[in-house]
Symmetry: C2
Subunit: 270 residues, 2 copies
């Protein structure tokens, strides 16, 4: 009985769009490339805590869920790839360029379009580095939110964000994806802060060091960085970019990441 005006579309194809979960770290977790002291949104955590993950959301200006916050997205055209569509949606709403972009899941079905038109969303998730994240000028309708303090969100977008965070937490364990959240050169402490922010817990510095070094994915630059009244730390870089990923992504590796890699190489390898 409700949804009367929608019933005529019940057997047609649903609308199709892409959305993006964009994730970045605050200053505390990644001091490598940063110089200033204040984090996003003037919400810098105390310096002895773990860093936090943030994401930009867009305020809806239409019904349904008017005034709620939603993931950046756009309709889907047929002349570009799905990944390019996600890349463009990200770029046009935030003017940022991701360091990593991967398909997350496709959501659809009548349950998620309460009162609205049927909608299928192909959702991607992206990582942006510290420097890139700072280029976003927060406006009235696009703002950063900490993932552990999300606002009232539209549709099922909160569940989608949760799923993206779950995927990131898993993927950081077996891939070199953390490389997309630190600068080109970094100390092991800085890299550890990234892991701590993603996993949401502190890690043993000694064991973390050994785990990273024995994985053979890092190489020393020969440079050192002094950061306080203590011994300077060696700077490292990732040796080959995305070595582990390709193994794990299997046959899908060939179908993805072209645009992101191009964008990153264009800006001098991240």
């Amino acid at each position: 009985m409700p949804l009367g005006n929608v019933s005529e579309r019940r057997h047609g194809a649903p609308d199709l769009g892409v959305s993006v979960v964009i994730l970045a770290l605050d200053k505390r977790a990644n001091i490598a490339s940063g110089l200033g002291k204040s984090a996003h949104h003037d919400d810098a955590p105390a310096s002895n805590e773990v860093g936090r993950l943030w994401l930009p959301l867009v305020k809806r200006v239409k019904q349904p869920y008017l005034g709620c916050w939603a993931l950046p997205g756009a309709g889907l055209r047929s002349d570009i790839s799905l990944e390019d569509a996600a890349f463009t949606a990200l770029e046009s709403t935030t003017a940022m360029h991701p360091h990593y972009l991967e398909q997350l899941y496709t959501f659809g079905g009548p349950a998620r379009s309460q009162g609205g038109l049927p909608m299928v969303s192909i959702v991607y998730w992206a990582l942006v580095g510290q420097a890139e994240a700072e280029t976003l000028h927060e406006a009235n309708n696009v703002q950063w939110f900490a993932t552990d303090a999300l606002p009232e969100m539209a549709f099922d977008h909160e569940a989608i964000v949760d799923y993206a965070l779950w995927r990131l937490r898993n993927k950081i364990e077996y891939s070199s994806i953390a490389s997309r959240l630190v600068g080109n050169e970094f100390t092991l402490a800085q890299l550890r802060h990234v892991y701590e922010a993603v996993l949401g817990k502190a890690l043993d510095p000694a064991n973390f060091r050994r785990r990273m070094l024995t994985s053979d994915s890092l190489q020393q630059t020969g440079k050192y960085q002094a950061e306080g009244r203590h011994r300077p730390a060696a700077l490292y870089r990732y040796s080959a970019d995305t070595p582990i990923e390709e193994i794990y992504e299997g046959s899908l590796a060939a179908l993805t990441s072209h645009k992101v890699l191009a964008a990153n190489t264009a800006r001098q390898h991240r």
Copy 2:
């Protein structure tokens, strides 16, 4: 310059459909519920080899790729969930009911629709048990193929199958998904044959036994099964269904599998 008649659709939304990669084992790998001796397609492997994975394909009767084999699929309506659409596509083309169904990936973009209309495919992958697989009467336009001997396939469907196999190989390591490929009760040797077929290599029986038993996901039935001129093997069953999966699928677990579970409980818990 080519594709002239398609160019007018270039900026519209692409068509949307679901496809399914349906996987099953041959007799050698799963003797639990079977009685006969011949495997699918009269291609029973020698009894000392590992079993193989098979999937049903549909022969195309239209251009493009006329005569090639393709994944079962259907268009997408907006009054049912994506999973229900995949379930229905599987059921209507093969008359089988899956024991497992999960979204695999969404494929799209202009590159994959050579000469045809732009097409986005939401692909699911499914597992069917031995008994269910035997209900499929092979016709002229739907047949079983071994995954290591695929025919000429339409579109990018061969890459999609490879990705589904990769996902299965990974998932069998950390979830109880193998339960969907064996019968209700099984010996550890039979369960091992499933793992061997999926992973494509032989496993140490002693270590496999210990790994399974210490995982606490199996329980003994008290029954035994004699299978040759040697000591009879104890029969086991999976204790709680899908215990590990839910942990690993995280927040997504709530959004999926309702229909498959219903279908399986309807037929007495698989």
